[in-house]
Symmetry: C2
Subunit: 241 residues, 2 copies
């Protein structure tokens, strides 16, 4: 065919860090300012997007914004049809030559929902993933808990696993980060008590945000926690530095 072929835009998956807007990277700030379209997840039903809130200071007026309304019921997640539809919408902008920056809480490739868009779009469009400060490093920093050193093994374990699965995984690791605590708090407490590792376990909620909470897990009496919470467990002998 005659004529210049249209050049498609570039897709960016930008880690915006755990919550404190100052933990954005210089690169994320630059790419947010330069992108034509900014997309970010928000809980379906109208609640605020945490990713957008983190980056808000750096989003100039007049950008096209796409709210990726994400179903929060764990049994339906990830909703394939939801991501298909958003991937189509983003693909339209990319075909028009627009760069699209997708904002991701924490790091895009550590339990980030960006991977569902990456899987649908990276084969067709130029794509760059920009790593961000993960909630893992942020929780450890705020709790004052050096996670692993030398030849220690760190296991990152999602709380929704079964009680026996959690027990097996935690028993063999030098250090454990339990993610997505939410309604699984009582179960985790039972497992750690059984393994005699409750003492020294630290509970962290909303790390690096203004209403952050850091305390010994043993002092937490509730049976559920917010989604943005984590439990860090180390062997006592690992405490020396």
């Amino acid at each position: 065919m005659a004529g210049a072929e249209a050049v498609s835009g570039k897709l960016y998956g930008l880690g915006v860090g755990p919550g404190d807007p100052e933990l954005l990277t210089l690169k994320a700030v630059r790419l947010i300012a330069a992108a034509d379209v900014i997309a970010y997840p928000a809980p379906a039903g109208g609640a605020d997007s945490m990713a957008r809130r983190i980056a808000a200071l750096h989003i100039p007026d007049g950008k096209i914004e796409i709210v990726i309304a994400t179903p929060m019921r764990p049994e339906t997640f990830p909703a394939d049809d939801v991501y298909d539809a958003y991937a189509d919408e983003i693909a339209g902008h990319l075909r028009d030559g627009h760069d699209v920056a997708v904002l991701c809480e924490g790091d895009p490739f550590l339990y980030g929902s960006f991977m569902y868009l990456f899987g649908r779009l990276a084969g067709e469009f130029p794509t760059e993933v920009v790593p961000g400060v993960s909630s893992l490093g942020a929780c450890a920093a705020r709790a004052g808990v050096p996670l692993v050193s030398r030849n220690q093994v760190l296991a990152i374990v999602p709380a929704p696993l079964s009680e026996s699965d959690l027990e097996t995984r935690i028993a063999v690791a030098d250090a454990v980060a339990v993610m997505k605590v939410g309604r699984h708090l009582a179960k985790i407490r039972r497992v750690l008590t059984k393994l005699d590792r409750l003492e020294g376990a630290v509970y962290i909620e909303r790390a690096t945000l203004g209403d952050e909470l850091v305390c010994p897990l043993a002092s937490v009496t509730a049976d559920t926690a917010p989604y943005f919470s984590m439990i860090l467990v180390r062997r006592t002998e690992a405490v020396d530095a």
Copy 2:
């Protein structure tokens, strides 16, 4: 005693990220500019400090700088007397009321040497750890390998572990990041071959730096690798996103 008591300075452990200077956080940039004293590790023997190189653009002239010359022989690491001496030197500055920023490659509490100073100084002086982009997220981003999603377990495993230990750890995890590859490359290749997980394993060297290398581990024929290298392993069924 009469008279005002001296107010001590504050100790900062600043993650400066995996290598690309643009992956510094806004917070690290601000604190580097404001600190009176900048300290950073460098290999004993005079080689460059990677942490300083990452942050160089943001270190104003005229700062007091402390090079923490770090023995690189694994059998002597961490050298307690070395860290005792540097902790004393840093404590002197803190007592004089100077803020001291210690630059750390990647994230300070994920296999970072800052924890040895933290263990010696945080009890006595106000201390803040600022998380950084870890090599883990950076390697995954550069390799285009979403590490874990949903309820998958990620194990972070140092390569110096014994062959049987590596085998046990890798066998049970959905995804594995093998750190500190260095002279253990041949051993890791044997373990992954035995577990039938060589295919799909990705080798990453110097992620986010100009001379970065990303390739299938199966295509790497050398038996040793640089210290700043990593191997990412996922189950094949985890590839769908």
